[in-house]
Amino acid sequence: MNVGTALALCSMGVSAFAVLAVGAVYARLRGLERAEGAGDAARLAPAGLSPAGGQAVSLVVLLDGGCALCPGLWRQARAFTADRPDVRLVGLVAAEEAARRLADPGGPGECAPLADPGAWAEMYEGYTPCLYLVRANGVIAHRAFVYADTDVPALLTRALPAPAVPANQGGRA
């Protein structure tokens, strides 16, 4: 084997590597683009919000201390889930002070929302109040913005799986 052949083999190796590298970078970019575009990659809720043992889903109500709709929504959500042992209800606020303001001892169910700034920041999408449905595996199955004219019981009926139906068949509206 003379020098010329060795050089040719070397350069062939280098160019094959270059082709592979360009191809790999292209594939990675397309993958990232698809991931961003499809975005359906399941969004996970913070671990503390997942349903506890035996419960199918948890209903997370994202609240804040100052919003006008929050106290009413919090009470409606508690009334709705009072006879649903398969649903874990979590009211989520960012600060203790807001939790105290929303605490409503006279009303139905557990009265004080959970104050967890980390989880709140992770869930917050630029609007309160919001309703989230979190499955047993931590996946957020449904998200709804709640407005003054939103029919909350209808929304909850649509979003929550029917009591007898296993969670994995229940529903997205």
Binding site: E33, G37, A38, G39, R43, E125, G126, Y127, R143
Partner: protein, 250 residues
Amino acid sequence: MGATMAQAVLRAADGARVTVDLPEQAGGLEWYGHTRMAGPRLLRAYDLAPAGQHKVIPGKILPGARREVRGRRGYDLVLYEAADRSRSCLVWAGPYHEATTWFGGPAPRPAVLDELTTSVLFRDSRQGATLTPRRTAGPGIRQYGTFVVGMGDRLVVMIRDAKAAKDGLPEWRGARLGEAEVWKERLDLDPATRAALAGTPFEWRYVYATGTAAYTVVFPTRPGRDETRGQATGAAVDTVLTTIRVRWSA
């Protein structure tokens, strides 16, 4: 004059801050917007509106439309396709506002939709939603034709950036009103309405130009009701025309 003024601070679709001072005689306004983008393999117009407006689409605009929702952080992407697949539209539905773009045919393939949704960045806030080209979508996407529209029962105002609007203004000199230059142009009305409105402020549109913004004011009319508008309405119109102030800062 003694008019009570209300200030609205809005976001145009391209991120510009628009400040509108209006007297209370103008009534309440709902804010809409429009923007366009052009680039390689992209030519699209987007309409912005308060949240929830897209809910009329399956009932009124595309009866029986197929609806497909994809959740995103901070907004939903909602795709509607007419039952006969003759039209479709894609809606970025945020908590406060929404943006809609229309396709003159069946819903595009998922790959095309992905390319479209990754080419723009939708951000919603109380002041307004912005829809801007995403930097990662590559160079050469140009945003243009952005405007903001305030719609109310008594007043419609359409606001553009002065830099973008300067070619559309009249060539002759307008009247000075404070820092603004004002022209009036006759509205294109049908003969009966025109006869009914002759001599009133309602037969004109008023075009304002300031150093930062160009805006058009129209007082909408409904046939049959206009004759009953009295002097009080005329005074309200004068108040609006003399006290309206708009600033556009990119």
